[in-house]
């Protein structure tokens, strides 16, 4: 009897089915609506415009909703704080919504309690305080970007004149605003027009990661890098800590903060004295120069920069701060702490933020909080502050409530909910309306604030028209400049973390596992240190350092980073959380004990030494093996001029494999290293879109992270080079030849795809992939947990243990566009398919499309003189190609 393989498998399956004793497929219910909401079409996602605020200003978002579940965040092209792009935080915010560890109930003294009890207790206290015109009532908020909340707080101050509203945001703009107060007599916010300047000098300004206008600034930077001699900009960076701007700079100088201030003084007074300064000053004068000052600098340095910009005629506008609070945050929270210690605070309402964890260490905020008879904390998580307050109330996520928010330039947007509050949370507007003793829903408050506008249009577009702040004309004053202080022997630079920011995203696994741009560290922080300084201290990456400052000691593992300033270590804030949740607890080390109210961004170290213990750093790039092989190619602008090809094409002419016939679309991607700033938005957007699991610190150490697109980072030629690497979708794909079960397949349009059901997990394909972009599910990483599974993209298979996976060029997006085009009997148009990484990219560095269409953006990019293929000599004929980076060093300077 002849038994074919297929019959044999059928019979095996039959016996297996027999063994499970007559089981049939489980019955699956299919649940329609009882009352169908208008405009719903199950299976077709809908997008709603909203706005999310992370670094003291809003970024406009379009949130994808699949039958009522928010699953993915995209940027809103109409919003100035987004321009169509999203930050890593925007992408990860949808995971935060579904985080099972969000606070789910009000608590009194850490025990679950009823909201009615809270309201009666609050009212009792308010009646008492109102008799004293509010004396004893304090409200504490982070930066308020919501105009509605601002007016509610103003109303509160008018109703209870003795009450006080304080601000504390760990990522505040104190130095910028105080500098303006010195220079102009009032707090102002600079708005940079980077694309109008051809020579930008950044003095430790982290404008690509922490500034309120970051996404807008990255886009502008990218536009200014068009490699044409007459228009290409030049970027000079002085940085005290590794930053994206420093990595992208044409000339980068690393020095501690105090040194940067001394440099600035000398630069302002006598630029001719030093060759570097003279060259930079000439360039700034000739090319409509613009100087940016970072938050780490002193107010006087900011004032000086305002003056220099004025003298240069720099393209910078000044506007009123979007949160018109009259005091520096550090001052405000110091006042509050003092009042709490003095027993003057009877009722403290903390509206979001986590001051119990992130307040300046010298204020002993936690002890002060213990002296407040009635303290209330509204927050997403039952965190360090909640544990010390009388009451904790669960807050609503921005995808659950009505609000509004201003972008960095003042443009307002309405925040609209995508879903009813999952845990009956309270919004900031609602709690302030309780204080006003006029309980109102958030919707009523916001709607009341925006009576005069076309409400529907504002919701649909995601911005309220004509609300950007007008530029302010302000006269410069003379500023007395100090003699700069002598730098300390060792200094500690504190920076917001690129992933968890001030710590608020500590429980977000996507962000924790996202490699930090400069170090590729995941799941924690480290003391970044230069190679020379490390040698001096006799430490290597992973050695734990003990850092002593006046009054505090912390232990933190070192991480050697080339190009870091000497005699200085950089530590990211936001780690070492005690009550973040299962994901964030214990990750990294807490640097807040070093942070004092009069020096928020640096601390003088009294001693730094090695403890002898070691701590593994979960880094994703063992760069030492790849360095120096020229994978991330770059060329100087002067060398590019007149070249047809900047980089030699190393693709061999012949191949042993027959060429695939392609008769339809030919999908391809081009990644522009000249504009990519290494921000990681692509990685996390891909994670959100493609149901990519996180694996945890131990698995990352084992090299098992799952990201389908990674951003490689090289230190070469005294530069930091970033290189996003997704699957190359090779035409001669090495993975396809070696699979014993034919799981990697080549489709008719050139996509190289993995058939999960065929995959038996031999991992031969991954072994044979020269780009190492295939990812294997060593364990069951994708969990089916409630409510996290609600975030999953219904258009993408959730993979199980034992199968290989990789970038699909967002096949589900191609399919959706294809079906729509096929229904209309036409070809897909250029730009109709936008991959998740492409959509998120603030620099617009990724283009995707059809090579068969000669006019497509991607075909155009492939004809660029800067085009090259990664590892072309292997003759894999990758569909993903790169445009090399162009650097534009000043010929007057040798460093570059």
């Amino acid at each position: 009897m002849k038994l074919s393989r297929r019959d044999f498998l059928k019979l095996s399956a039959a016996s297996a089915a027999l063994a499970s004793a007559g089981c049939s497929a489980p019955r699956e219910p299919i649940v329609p609506y009882a009352m169908q909401p208008e405009m719903t079409l199950p299976g077709v996602p809908r997008f709603y415009a909203s706005a999310a605020s992370f670094v003291g200003a809003a970024e406009g978002v379009l949130v994808e909703s699949n039958t009522g579940r928010p699953t993915k965040v995209e940027g809103n092209a109409a919003h100035p704080g987004s321009l169509g792009a999203t930050s890593v935080h925007g992408q990860a915010s949808v995971l935060q919504l579904w985080d099972p560890e969000r606070s789910q109930a009000p608590r009194r003294m850490r025990q679950p309690a009823a909201r009615e009890q809270f309201e009666s207790e609050l009212n009792e206290a308010l009646v008492r305080l109102e008799a004293r015109r509010g004396a004893g009532l304090r409200v504490l908020t982070p930066t308020v970007v919501s105009p509605t909340l601002q007016s509610q707080l103003v109303e509160l101050a008018a109703r209870l004149p003795e009450a006080r509203v304080h601000r504390w945001d760990p990522l505040n703009r104190d130095a910028t605003h105080e500098g303006a107060r010195l220079a102009f007599g009032r707090a102002l916010e600079p708005i940079y027009r980077l694309e109008d300047s051809r020579a930008v000098l950044s003095l430790d300004c982290r404008f690509m990661e922490d500034e309120p206008g970051r996404l807008n600034y990255i886009r502008q930077y990218a536009r200014s890098r068009s490699p044409k001699p007459q228009s290409m900009g030049r970027l000079y960076v002085l940085e005290s800590a590794p930053s994206l701007a420093g990595a992208m700079a044409d000339h980068c100088y690393a020095m501690p903060l105090a040194e940067i201030e001394r440099w600035l003084l000398a630069f302002a007074n006598a630029p001719a004295a030093d060759r570097t300064m003279r060259a930079i000053a000439d360039d700034l004068k000739k090319n409509r120069g613009l100087i940016l000052a970072g938050e780490g600098l002193s107010p006087w340095a900011h004032a000086l920069v305002y003056r220099l910009n004025h003298e240069l005629g720099a393209p910078v506008a000044l506007i009123d701060p979007i949160d018109p609070y009259p005091q520096p945050h550090a001052q405000s929270i110091s006042d509050l702490a003092q009042a709490m210690h003095a027993g003057e605070v009877e009722l403290l309402v903390i509206v979001e933020g986590n001051p119990g964890y992130d307040a300046p260490a010298d204020l002993d905020f936690a002890a002060g909080l213990a002296r407040v008879p009635l303290s209330v904390h509204l927050s997403l998580y039952d965190d360090e502050t909640s544990a010390r307050c009388t009451w904790h109330l669960p807050a609503t996520h921005y995808l659950e409530h009505w609000s509004d928010a201003r972008a960095f330039d003042g443009t307002a947007a309405i925040v609209q909910p995508l879903i009813a509050p999952l845990y009956g949370g309270v919004s900031p507007h609602e709690i302030v309306s309780l204080l006003l003793r006029r309980p109102q829903s958030g919707y009523e408050s916001v709607r009341g604030r925006w009576k005069a506008i076309d409400w529907e249009a504002a919701l649909r577009k995601g911005v309220v028209e004509n609300t950007a702040f007008p530029p302010v004309k302000a006269a410069l004053r003379t500023v007395a400049l100090p003699t700069p202080k002598e730098p300390a022997a060792w200094s500690v630079r504190l920076v917001p973390d690129s992933s968890v920011l001030d710590g608020r995203f500590a429980n977000n696994a996507w962000l924790q596992e996202l490699p930090r741009p400069d170090t590729k560290i995941t799941w924690g922080n480290a003391a970044l240190i230069s190679a020379d300084s490390a040698r001096q201290l006799e430490v290597e990456s992973g050695d734990v350092l003990e850092i002593n400052t006046h009054g505090a000691t912390i232990h933190v593992p070192a991480c050697v980073v080339p190009g870091h300033p000497e005699k200085s270590v950089t530590i990211a804030l936001g780690y070492g959380r005690a009550r973040a949740g299962r994901v964030g607890n214990g990750a990294g080390c807490d640097a807040y004990p070093l942070r004092l109210s009069d020096s928020l961004w640096s601390a003088d170290a009294t001693s730094i030494h090695k403890t002898g213990s070691r701590q593994a750093l979960a880094t994703t790039q063992n760069h030492a093996r790849m360095e120096g092989r020229g994978h991330a190619k770059h060329i100087a602008l002067a060398d590019l001029i007149g070249q047809a090809r900047a980089f030699e094409d190393e693709t061999p002419e012949h191949s042993l494999y027959p060429a695939w016939p392609y008769d339809s679309y030919r999908w391809a991607m081009s990644i522009n290293l000249n504009t990519c700033v290494g921000c990681n938005a692509c990685t996390i957007a891909c994670q959100a879109e493609n149901n990519i699991p996180t694996v945890g610190k131990d698995e990352v150490i084992a090299g098992r992270e799952m990201h389908w697109i990674r951003v490689d980072r090289y230190f070469e030629d005294r530069r930091t080079l970033f290189m996003p690497v997704p699957c190359m979708h090779c035409e001669n794909a090495p993975c396809e030849y070696v699979c014993p079960v034919g799981a990697p397949v080549h489709d008719s349009e050139g996509l190289n795809l993995q058939v999960y059901n065929r995959c038996v997990g031999t991992r031969f394909c991954s072994q044979n992939c020269p780009y190492k972009v295939r990812r294997f599910n060593f364990l069951q990483y994708s969990k089916d947990d409630e409510p996290l599974k609600a975030q999953k993209n219904p258009e993408v298979t959730v993979r199980m243990r034992g199968v290989m996976e990789k970038c699909t060029y967002c096949l589900q997006r191609i399919t959706r566009a294809r079906i729509e085009a096929d229904k209309e009997n036409r070809r897909m148009r250029d730009g109709e398919v936008v991959t998740a990484c492409q959509a998120a990219c603030p620099a617009g560095a990724i283009v995707f499309g059809d090579l068969a269409d000669e006019q497509s953006q991607v075909a155009l990019a492939k004809r660029s003189p800067l085009k090259y293929d990664l590892l072309a000599e292997l003759n894999t004929r990758p569909r993903t190609s790169y445009e090399g980076r162009v650097v534009n060093p000043n010929p007057e300077l040798d460093n570059g």
């Binding site: 049939s24 219910p29 009882a34 298979t797 589900q812 399919t815």
Partner: protein, 213 residues
């Protein structure tokens, strides 16, 4: 020296062969009687809804209830309120409709049992099949003759591929897509439809990526 006599060896051989044959025949027979891989062909429903009555007798168009079949991957299951457009007037006190009235009263949706179920890694889209001239009857059979809905196709990959490898015989003019009784047009009409409807190449239709992602 022989341990077994030649007769014994022959007996053993026959017995072994018979054993293999018995197992094969038994397994094949059992396989036939096992529940189909797609689940029950006609499971019980909360309301014994009759397509025969609604489609065959009353002549209600498929799209009245399956409202998103032309726009979405999902054909759509009618909301309680759609049923109530008629049943607030007709058969208002029929005992079989008690669950429907309960749903309309409480706002709690009905929970039907799925009849056509595809595995999670298959991404089927109704709208493109309907747009390309694949009639409802091709996969769902004559539902206008089914008092109780039942699955007529195996929904196995082989069955899908049967059509994707040779789509022409399964096509009908777009105007007849929702007509269950219309006979299939002739081969020449179908060959014409392959062109006018721009049916993708067989290579494209049989790419893994067409249905799996």
């Amino acid at each position: 020296m022989q341990v077994f006599s030649p007769v014994a060896v022959l007996f053993l051989k026959i017995a072994a062969l018979a054993g293999v044959a018995a197992i094969t025949v038994g397994a094949t027979a059992l396989y036939k009687f096992l529940p189909a891989p797609g689940g029950e062909v006609s499971p019980a429903q909360p309301i014994p809804f009759s397509h025969q009555h609604h489609v065959g007798d009353d002549g209600i168009d498929c799209r009245y209830c399956h409202y998103s079949v032309e726009k979405s991957s999902f054909a759509g299951i009618p909301a309680t309120q759609v049923c109530m457009t008629c049943h607030s007037q007709l058969f208002t006190d029929a005992p079989v409709l008690a669950p429907l009235r309960e749903s309309a009263r409480t706002g709690q949706p009905l929970r039907w049992t799925r009849v056509h179920k595809l595995p999670g890694f298959v991404f089927f889209d109704h709208s493109i099949h309907v747009a390309k001239g694949v009639g409802c009857v091709e996969c769902h059979g004559r539902v206008d003759k089914m008092p109780r809905i039942r699955r007529v196709a195996s929904l196995e990959m082989q069955w899908c591929l049967g059509c994707h490898r040779d789509p022409a015989p399964h096509l009908r003019p777009p105007a007849e897509v929702f007509d269950l009784a219309a006979p299939r047009p002739g081969r020449d009409v179908q060959d014409g439809l392959m062109k006018t409807l721009h049916i993708a190449s067989v290579r494209r239709l049989t790419d893994c990526s067409t249905c799996h992602r």
